[in-house]
């Protein structure tokens, strides 16, 4: 929990420094947003960047809680499942066009079209009805208490502008006007766009909210090589970089004029098993059975891992051990099931003996080498810890571009996975990781090992529809308890989030790794 508090503190500070002098703010990150079209790609870097230009009906505050944005208030509909949103009046788009419910309806049709990658957000929505210019209803197939939370990144663009520049749908293969140009209601507008090189934002004079940043020009440049990025910061050419390698934290803190912001990302790193596999693929000694189908063997593997020493050596004490698939502080986190299997090699050996493998067995561990922080180093460390209890892991690491296809073809015995809940609620990982694979209903699509438990499958829809928070939490706790007993996954830790900036820059680090320009003050 300590990390989130720190983030809050940072936020409060920045609110006070109002009206400082006009400033150019230069910042960099490892990847460049692929497109400026809010509905084309559902990836964190794109949505994070566009949140500065476009706005949704609701938005997340500095502490991740949902706040009114283009919708001033919203309440569940009587008599049918769904929500009514009352829209803010007097808001104009950056090209001066008025903001009305028509724009919301149009954006919904655009975002839920087959061409849009974000259409999965609207799976529960059956119909959208415009009541009047500033009221709109979203009808859902079933009661959906978390619906407002799940559309924080659903951004609204102007209907006439889009249709005039024939960008009614996100670009399918060829780019369209919306790929390179913007027309949102957000605090900033696009000044220039050179994909992969430099993108500049300028403040939106007609923004409806009160301005508490003093940025007159924001220049974003992607820097792929982390060493070069750090050099760019230390040489003063850029004011802020996200993220920096955690082994360089000491170096930055050591230099005066620079500071480091440390926080926890909402991403939990875990090991998954091939529950459905009936044999081991990479084993040299056990070829006729899959020991990992026995929960005792999975628990033994969990006991073999010493998260504390991994934290000390690999992550320099910057990670939080994880007990379940979401970090603490996220809605739906199960307070009762906070303890995770302790580091106990002896217990691990006993469990293996009980399960019939006294001297262990060899198996294939598959990891990425360029997706999560120190992913390769972690797997090598884990492999040596497994080996200590007799679980001889044959490690295979590779770039992420080939990783997902291999997992989809069940080409593993044990695999590394990091998961950040899109809706910042426990329901998200249950829907994608714990529910058994069901392609039509688009459920369990990332449950590569196809862990399946009837009770969990039964509870998911109930959780999704339960309005009363207490009842909902109880059901979630039950799911977490089941999956912990059965060791569906071995949650390891939440990944650290390290940003670095010049001393004279005030900014807020949010847990979902989104960077909001509107909270930046350069003094």
């Amino acid at each position: 929990m300590k990390s989130l508090k720190l983030a809050l503190l940072g936020g409060a500070l920045s609110m006070s420094a109002l009206g400082a002098s006009a400033e150019t703010f230069r910042w960099a990150s490892t990847t460049d947003p692929q497109t400026m079209d809010p509905h084309a790609v559902n990836s964190a870097p794109v949505l994070s960047f566009l949140n500065n230009v476009y706005e949704g009906l609701v938005r997340r505050g500095q502490d991740m809680s949902i706040e009114p944005s283009l919708a001033t208030s919203w309440e569940p509909l009587e008599g049918e499942n769904g929500w009514r949103f009352n829209l803010r009046t007097g808001v104009t788009f950056q090209d001066g066009a008025a903001f009305t419910a028509e724009d919301v309806l149009f954006s919904y049709q655009r975002a839920s079209d087959e061409a849009a990658d974000v259409r999965s957000w609207f799976a529960p929505v059956t119909d959208v009805r415009v009541v009047d210019d500033f009221t709109i209803d979203f009808i859902t197939s079933a009661p959906n208490p978390l619906f407002p939370d799940s559309i924080a990144n659903f951004m609204i663009l102007d209907k006439d502008w889009a249709e005039a520049n024939d960008a009614a749908l996100p670009a399918r293969d060829a780019e369209n006007f919306a790929t390179m140009n913007v027309n949102g209601t957000g605090p900033f507008t696009l000044a220039s766009r050179d994909p992969g090189v430099r993108t500049t934002l300028a403040p939106n004079e007609t923004w409806w909210d009160d301005v508490d940043h003093n940025v007159t020009e924001a220049i974003f440049t992607p820097i792929g090589n982390s060493a070069t990025g750090l050099a760019a910061l230390l040489s003063g050419e850029i004011d802020f970089i996200q993220p920096i390698p955690l082994q360089d934290v000491a170096q930055v803190e050591g230099r005066d004029g620079f500071k480091v912001l440390e926080g926890e990302e909402t991403r939990v790193i875990m090991f998954g098993f091939g529950h459905e596999h009936d044999t081991l693929l990479y084993s040299s000694d056990v070829t006729d059975a899959n020991p990992f189908t026995d929960p005792r063997v999975r628990l033994a593997a969990a006991h073999a891992l010493d998260i504390a020493s991994i934290d000390r050596v690999l992550f320099r004490n910057k990670i939080e051990p994880a007990s379940q698939l979401v970090p603490a502080g996220i809605s739906g986190f199960s307070e009762e099931n906070q303890d995770r299997p302790a580091f106990d090699p002896e217990r691990a050996k006993e469990l293996l003996a009980e399960a019939g493998y006294p001297d262990g067995f060899s198996f294939g561990l598959k990891c990425t080498n360029d997706r999560y922080i120190n992913d390769e180093a972690l797997c090598r460390a884990a492999a040596s810890m497994f080996a200590a209890v007799g679980l001889n892991a044959e490690l295979t690491t590779g770039p992420v571009r080939d990783y997902w296809p291999q997992l989809r073809e069940d080409d593993f015995d044990m695999y590394l996975l990091g998961w950040s809940p899109g809706t910042f609620d426990m329901e998200h990982p249950i829907r994608f990781l714990l529910h058994s694979q069901d392609d039509e209903a688009k459920l369990g699509s990332w449950n590569f090992g196809n862990y399946s438990n009837a009770r969990v499958d039964e509870l998911l829809p109930l959780i999704q529809q339960e309005i009363d928070p207490a009842a909902r939490q109880a059901m979630i706790d039950e799911v977490v308890a089941i999956t912990q007993d059965e060791v569906a996954y071995i949650p390891l830790y939440t990944q650290p989030l390290i940003w670095a900036a010049k001393d004279n820059v005030e900014l807020t680090q949010r847990a979902d790794n989104f960077f909001m320009l509107r909270w930046v003050t350069v003094n």
Binding site: D173, I223, N225, T228, R401
Partner: protein, 324 residues
């Protein structure tokens, strides 16, 4: 003369076609582009439909014919990642790579040739041994290590030069150049040196070997016997004859320059074709990779043709027909 050029052209077309075929046939194995293009929550069905739309399920030969067909029509297709037309993406990146490559080549010639001449004329000198040793060490350190060292020394510690990117550039028609601003040159210096080091050592050693060979030839001894002033003998006679074979080999080394430019651009975040290619590999952006390879092959073929023409221009024996 015309025949010679025509023959080279035809051969070049074959080389480029072969490169396109080779590159295209191999991309199928470099990973699955769709998994990169879609977000975390996209369902398998959606991914399958996207793969269908992009025609990735078509038989391989059909895809290749379409790929080359479009290319000849000038339609280079769209990037899977940014949906931009690949032609624009690459065109906007060509100036950066070309300018970097040319400046690196100039540095390697400006330093390499005189150093080669000096070490050839004073084979036993102490300075010669020093030059040979330092350039040898220079070429033994991997390019990316040199790059990062230069960044930290001149960028971070001394703060004289920018550590990344292209600095202020000037737009001349569609060509974005960094040669006309001080800031542009400051940004160009470090990457050009990093790229140039390898080429410099090569040029120097070539000039040295060739110069020593030429110094033993009869026409040099005859020039000595005629009392031609030493300076003129070294440069007007010896160096001119040395440059003829050296130019051809430098042309052939072009492939090396491109290979190292990929590394240099990724270290300096230099917005050239090499960086774009690296990103497209990470993202399995097949159209960009395919067109990049063909463009590189085109440059290679072009350089070879220019080198051959230079060869004919410099050496009168090829230019003017035989005994009149």
């Amino acid at each position: 003369m015309v025949y010679f050029i025509l023959k080279r052209m035809i051969q070049s077309v074959f080389v480029m076609l072969a490169v396109a075929f080779l590159a295209f046939s191999l991309f199928r194995f470099v990973g699955d582009p769709v998994s990169q293009m879609t977000g975390v929550e996209t369902s398998v069905a959606d991914q399958e439909r996207l793969r269908e739309d992009l025609g990735l399920n078509d038989p391989f030969v059909y895809q290749f014919v379409r790929f080359t067909g479009d290319m000849f029509k000038g339609d280079f297709g769209y990037s899977y990642r940014t949906r931009q037309p690949v032609a624009d993406m690459i065109a906007s990146r060509i100036p950066a790579t070309l300018e970097l490559g040319v400046v690196a080549l100039i540095i390697s010639l400006l330093v390499g040739v005189p150093a080669g001449v000096y070490t050839a004329l004073r084979p036993r000198g102490a300075l010669t041994q020093a030059i040979l040793m330092t350039t040898l060490v220079g070429v033994s350190i991997p390019t990316f290590v040199i790059g990062i060292m230069l960044i930290f020394i001149f960028g971070v510690q001394l703060g004289w030069l920018p550590t990344f990117g292209r600095g202020g550039t000037v737009q001349i028609g569609s060509w974005e150049s960094s040669l006309f601003t001080i800031d542009g040159w400051r940004a160009l210096l470090l990457p050009a040196i990093t790229l140039g080091v390898y080429q410099l050592t090569l040029t120097m050693r070539l000039v040295r070997a060739e110069m020593m060979e030429v110094m033993r030839s009869d026409y040099i001894r005859f020039a000595m016997a005629r009392g031609v002033p030493m300076r003129r003998l070294h440069y007007r006679h010896a160096l001119a004859n040395t440059m003829v074979p050296v130019i051809t080999i430098i042309g052939l080394q072009f492939g090396g320059v491109i290979a190292f430019s990929i590394v240099t651009e990724s270290v300096f975040q230099w917005p050239g074709m090499g960086l774009l290619f690296l990103e497209s590999i990470r993202f399995v952006d097949i159209p960009v990779m395919g067109v990049y390879l063909v463009v590189i092959a085109f440059f290679f073929v072009l350089v070879n043709l220019v080198v051959d023409l230079l060869y004919v221009a410099i050496d009168p024996r090829l230019r003017i027909s035989d005994v009149s």
